[in-house]
Each structure stands twice: as structure tokens, then as C-alpha cells.
């Protein structure tokens, strides 16, 4: 209910201050439900309200299955991308997990989340030496099928190229972490 009131308060309209939206009386069925968006009244044509993008329940009438399955390709420049789900395995763990890379802003965000998820901690990263100070090394498989150390390439490139993650442990990890 409060949400509805605030929407009204911040609504941009070309109207005299203090004038009410006449359509509320005309189409009174909208008056007591906070789910429905306000609609521009045809009688107030002289006011050109900017198109409101508040979403009405069940409108437009597109089947939910269709809405969920038509993934529009958004511009790369938007910075927004669809959910990038990749598997995450950890040496010694009984089962894998899956995460959405697009939820993370960068490497530190991602690594923090992984540390929480698998209850471990990754060492300190340096470009020269990889991860030092921990038995665990975060790696990923890229599109060419190679296992790479997480953190070397820019985040956006990583997002595009990462097929799955693996948190290596032990001697194998030590080889990768220290000398590459």
C-alpha cells in the first residue's frame, strides 16, 4: 500500500500541481488495488504523461512459459547479461554447486561467495605468483578446454570464457598456483 502512495508522489506529469488524476474516478476499479498501474486518461490528452513502465499483473497477455523462455539478447554495452550459470566443483566435496556469474561484480565478489559456499579460504592473489597462503586454488575451464587460474584476465573476458569452475586442492593446486 505504501509503495503505491510513494509511486504517486514521485510520478512525473505535465499537469498543474495539485490536480488529481481524473482517471481514478472514471475507472474506479483501479482505486483500491495497489497492483494495478495508473493509466493515462484519454480526456487529459493535453497532458502528455511520459509512458509509465510499472508492470500490471498478467499484462500483456503472454503465457508465463513464453515470457520465461524467450531470452532477449541484450546489448553487450548495457553491461547486463543473462544468467551465466556455471558448475563449481571442489576437490574432495561430495557434490557440485552451480552459481550465476552475472550476480558478481568482480573477482573479489566471486571469491568471497565461493569461500562462503565451500567454507574454505583462498590465498592472496598476485599476478606473478598466483594464489599464495592456502591449499586451495580457484581455477576455471575456458572455452578452449584449458584450465586457467582465476583472476588473470579482465572480469568481463572471464565471464564470457568461463565454462566451469574448479577449486583445486593439495599438490595439484600447488603446481598451478606457484609457478605459472
Amino acid at each position: 500500500m505504501d509503495e503505491f502512495v510513494n509511486l504517486k508522489a514521485t510520478e512525473l506529469r505535465l499537469g498543474l500541481p495539485g490536480t488529481n488524476n481524473v482517471c481514478e474516478e472514471r475507472v474506479s476499479c483501479n482505486s483500491n488495488n495497489n497492483k494495478r498501474a495508473l493509466q493515462a486518461d484519454a480526456e487529459n490528452e493535453t497532458e502528455t504523461s511520459p509512458p509509465r513502465k510499472t508492470q500490471i499483473v498478467g499484462w500483456p497477455p503472454v503465457r508465463s512459459y513464453r515470457k520465461n523462455n524467450v531470452q532477449t539478447k541484450k546489448n553487450e554495452s548495457d553491461g547486463e547479461s543473462q544468467g551465466i550459470y556455471v558448475k563449481v566443483s571442489m576437490d574432495g566435496a561430495p557434490y557440485l554447486r552451480k552459481i550465476d556469474l552475472s550476480c558478481y561484480k568482480g573477482y573479489s565478489d566471486l571469491l568471497k561467495a565461493l569461500e562462503l559456499m565451500f567454507e574454505f579460504s583462498v590465498g592472496e592473489y598476485s599476478e606473478r605468483d598466483g594464489y599464495k597462503g592456502s591449499d586451495f586454488v580457484p581455477t576455471y575451464e575456458d572455452k578452449d578446454g584449458d584450465w586457467m587460474l582465476i583472476g588473470d584476465v579482465p572480469w568481463e573476458m572471464f565471464e564470457c570464457n568461463c565454462k566451469r569452475l574448479r577449486i583445486m586442492k593439495g599438490s595439484e593446486a600447488k603446481c598451478l598456483g606457484s609457478g605459472v
Partner: protein, 590 residues
Amino acid sequence: MDRAIKLQLSTSEMNYFPDEVIEHIFDFIPSHRDRNSISLVSKSWHKIERYSRHQVFIGNCYAISPERLIRRFPCLRSLTLKGKPHFADFNLVPHEWGGFLHPWIDALSKARVGLEELRLKRMVVSDESLELLSRSFVGFKSLVLVSCDGFTTDGLASIAANCRHLRELDLQENEIDDHRGQWLNCFPDSSTTLVSLNFACLKGETNLSALERLVARSPNLKSLKVNRAVPLDALTRLMSCAPQLVDLGVGCYENEAEPESFEKLMAAIKKCTLLRSLSGFSEVAPVCLTAFYPICENLTSLNLSYAAEIQGNHLIEFVQFCKRLQLLWILDSIGDKGLEIVASSCKELQELRVFPSDPHDEEDNNTAVTEIGLVAISAGCPKLHSILYFCKQMTNAALITVAKNCPNFIRFRLCILEPNKPDHITSQSLDEGFGAIVQACKGLRRLSVSGLLTDKVFLYIGMYAEQLEMLSIAFAGDTDKGMLYVLNGCKKLRKLEIRDSPFGNAALLADVGKYETMRSLWMSSCEVTLGGCKRLARNAPWLNVEIINENENGRMERNEEDEREKVDRLYLYRTVVGTRKDAPPCVTIL
């Protein structure tokens, strides 16, 4: 009715024929409505018709009970059932509302009905029901599920494993919990009868080798629609062992197909000379559509409405060569220019659906379709009879032109994305435009209206839409008169669904008997009150009057006096079996 019946025989004369002969004559009459009419002619015809009826269509699963169905039609072989009301597709009906399959399977199983085909729409189906189905009906051949939910791939595994004569498994737009099991493996090696397999809506991984083996041993397979998890090289192998395919649904392609795999795919496609129908392409790079150029001239049906990644110009390049196209489902990214090209290329077009690629106008793009595209299609495609068109703007002039160009519309559904939007040139309501449509299209059976509309459009609909069976109204009208024009005028109306329109008790209660001639009425966010609904329920005991509450947690907690309270969602339907017992707490049946 078949000419055999139109011979000048009175029923008493016909009764000198043995029942088998009369039954044989009835075999020529497949239409449900005609069969219903035959059964009313006389007692003996009723009896003969009953026992010879193999196909039954039930448009509302709560209108009748399974027991009564079986009593009347014991020789039932094919059953179609529909559950939730249409607006359930748009999240307006709570998930647990009803439409459960299980009581039907249970009853059919117990009565040992020889069920062979089951078609369901908007029903809740459980794995248990599917398991019971698979074990109860030895000759079961065909399962078609559209917009259903409640089951998992485990249920599919039962069907695969136990239905020895399965010909058709068609899953359209269902919400299926994918357990990533091995359901495809459950088809026994002896299973070779498949004609149609559609699992496009499954979200999980697919056992590709099981699928390939299944397709290889199904020489009668005509229709195959795979899900996203079937990549390009697997598709190539599948098509290579099924060149007889008529209908293909494509899954997911890699973003850049290597030239070699692309060549192989094209070679496989070339061999599919019987291919007439194409769909899928949900994650497909445009270049992969070009692999189908060799057979595009043969296509009669093309559904690219999930192909969001194929840009308008690629779509146009492909579609313009599909000269034999009768059905086209596409996204509005094709644009008006694209539709103009469709209009000049696809002269056989009968059904067009243009879906919004950006339903909530988040991207504010200008490539969506407008009235220009609609007019072009109407001018170029003389055989067009069904249209579903999502657009941002419309004009009366355009609709009047469309009506003149295409008087043969059977289905006309126009959805202007912004509610209450007027004619964008004259700023008037769209009453005249829709009025022209109903006046010109004498055979119109289904209509959806949108944009700014007053009571006048309903006056026109009531006056002219004599064959109208289904009408969908949203954000339209001014007073009760609007709804009354429709109820009084449209004699053949079966389904009326209304949302966010100012129709109230006066319209609802004016002619209670009308609802006996209709399947159902839906009204949400209108002006009807609890008191009005109660009065209706009292005066029409043969109706189920359901109130669906916003507060899904409890029954209506309003006190009895509050009859002036507006009802959020009303759904009423005729029924011969009274109040249903399976309604959830959020539904009150008056």
C-alpha cells in the same frame, strides 16, 4: 452433417436398419456438436450414439464428473480435458486452484475403459497419475499435454516404460520438473511405434545416445521436437537417421558452428525432403537458420517465436523464401518492413502470430510492429483467417482497411501493449476500427480487443458478431451497458473473459439464463460485488460461482454484511455435478 443423414429417411424408417448400420453412418460424423445433436433425436439414437462414441471433448473438467462420463460413454477411447481458465496463462489464477487429472485417471482405470488417447490443457498432472495411466490402459497410444504442470521426468519415464504401443508423446509448454533422469532410456528396445515426440519444454540435459537410438528404431517417426540440450552435431545425427521427418523442433546451437559441422548439418537437412514444419531455435545463431535454406520452399509451418537471438533481417531473409507458408509464428523484431516482405512472399498464409520480444517495453526500441505491418499482411495474404498481433500502436483507419481486405477472419486477436491506448493519429477510441472488423468478418469466432474502447465497441460486437464464441476484454468499456450488449447480442457466445473493466452487478445479473448457454465467464478487477455474486449463485443453482480471493491464505474473512465488497476474481461455469470438492482455501464457491 454427412449427406447420408440428409437422405429423406425419418428416424422410424431408419430404425429398420440394424444398429450396426446406423452406427456405421454415425462414424461419418466426427464433429462433437453434431454427435451431440444426433443423440437428442430419439432414445434409440441416443443409445446407439452412446456406445459408438469414441472421442469426447470436455471443455471444462468441472462441468461433469468422470463417473458420469464413463456411464454415458463406456466405449470411450479418446478424451480431451481442459482445466484452468484461460487467464491462468497470465498468472491470474492461483497455482493450486484445481484442474487435477488424477480423479479422471482413477475412474477410467477402475472402469477398465479402453483409453487410447488423452489430450490435456491447463491441468495439474502428477507423476502418480502418469504412472497409473501407463499401467491401466494397454492400448494407450497418444498423450498430449499443453500448459500443464505438477509432474516430473519420472512421470515421463513411466509412460516411456509401460506404454507398449505409444505413438505420440507431445509436451507443449509445460512446466516440468526435470530430474535429469534417464527417461529416454526407459523406452524399451522393442519400442518402435513412435510417430511423434516433442520434449522441447524440458529444461534439463538429455541423454543424447538414448535419443539417437530411439529415433533410429522408430521408422514411423514424423514429428520430433527436441529441447535446448540437443546440440548441433547431435541434431545432425538425428536427422540423418530420420530423413522421413515432417515436423522438426530444433534445440540449441553453439554460437559459432564450425564449418565442418555446418556442412554435415546441411547435408542431413537436404535429405529431409518431407520436412514441412520447423520450430524451436531458442538459442540459435542466425547462421544456423541458413542451414535450412535447402528445404525452406517446402515449409508450410514456421514457428520462430522463441528465436530471440535471430535478428529481424536474418528472419526476413529466410521467410521470404518460404513461399508455401501457411502458418507463421514470429517475434515483433521482424518489424513492419519484414511483415511487408512476408505479405509479398507468403501468399498461402492462413495463420499469423506476432509476439512481443520486449513485453514490458524495457528497451524502448522502435523496431516493433505497428498498424502498418498489419495492414500489409491483410492486403497481401488473401487466405489469412487467424491472427494474434501484439503491437504498440493502432489506428481505426488501419483496422477498417484490414476488415475490408480480410473478411474471412475466424480468429482476430489484437493486443496493444499499453492499456487504454487510443488511435495514435486521431486520439479517438478504437471502437470504429473493431466495429469494422466484426461487421465485415461474418464468420468471426474468436475476438480479443484492446486499446481505448468505450461501450460503443460492445454495441457493435453485440450487433454484428453473430458467430462469436469467445471474447476477451481488458481495460475497456464505460458502463454495464457494454457487457449487456455482448450478453444480449452474441447468441453463440461460449466463453467471456473480462479484466479491469467497469462492469458490475447490473450486467452480471441481467440474464442469468444466458450462462447456461455458455461454458464460462471470467471477471477480474471489475465492479461486481460479493452481494451480486451471491444473488447470482442463489438464482442459478446449476452454476458454480467461484470467488478467487487475493488473500490466498484463508477463506474470505469478511463478515457476511460486507456484500458491497468488490470481488477481485470471479469465475463461473455451468456444471451438472454441483460444487467441486477440491477447491483450495483461496477459492470460495457460493
